[in-house]
Amino acid sequence: MWGWFHKWSSPRWFYQLSGRLLPWLAVLTALTLVAGVAWGLLFVPPDYKQGNSFRIIYIHVPAAAVAMAGYMVMAVAGAISLIWRIKLADMVMKCCAPIGAALTFLALVTGAIWGKPTWGTWWVWDARITSVLVLFFLYVGVLALYEAFDNKEAAGRACAILALVGAVNIPVIYWSVEWWYSLHQPASISFTGESSIHPSMLRPLILTIIGFYSFFAVSLLLFVRNEILNRERNTRWVRELILADSKV
């Protein structure tokens, strides 16, 4: 039973597989993002209450969703590398962190920009945005911990534990922030009030969400491939690949 698991976790096999997958993923990302953005920006009528600023939803919501999913991917990869000590999982975890942090930051910035024209303040203490802010702090924690260790293998295992503890806490954090938000319900500044946006306007959102997920995969594969080459430098296949690469 362990045969396939072992084969799948070999960096070389992953490098070859990702090489074949990347072009298709890149095309999928480009198509969905361009179509979704064009549809959302150009063709959908403005929201009767929020005007045109609601169009930012098409990038804000996917960024927040993928950032959260990215943290879960990081935690799972960390768990795999901790339990079975698979190098590949450690690399995937290490590469998830910067991408996830960037997407979380993007969600915060687009959220702030969206808040200004709609509610007149750059920062809205809405339940969703506050949770994304805490998620951003979790990412910063993992990045800072990884940099603090000299021995990178220990750094990987420490970050795996932190990511797991964080992942266990994310539902509690999201739920407690929702509870906190409903407790201090200010005037109905409801950010996440998609329900108030007409459903037909949300269709482009599906496209952009798919686009952001596949973008995450593309960027992650690119980072992981670099990491594989770096860590497997003493192997014959990497050497042949690099030296062959130089002729091109």
Partner: protein, 67 residues
């Protein structure tokens, strides 16, 4: 298209600057998340080539790396 001309699209009834700023920052971030790995890939192959040259000089063996 909902907007009749480019000026209307750009202005977006006053919300244009915000919408375009948000989309601009998103585009920049996504491009950065693609450009950084591609950039390090080139630097890395340069470093690894130099590393292999040093390796040749001291002629140590390579593992087959099949694990």
């Amino acid at each position: 298209m909902y907007f009749n001309n480019i000026q209307e699209l750009w202005a977006m009834a006053g919300h244009g600057p915000f919408v375009w700023a948000a989309y601009g920052i998103t585009l920049a971030t996504l491009l950065a998340l693609l450009w950084v790995p591609l950039r390090t890939r080139q630097q890395q192959s340069r470093n690894l080539r130099a590393y292999y040259r040093r390796l040749n000089a001291s002629a140590t063996s390579l593992t087959d790396g099949e694990n």
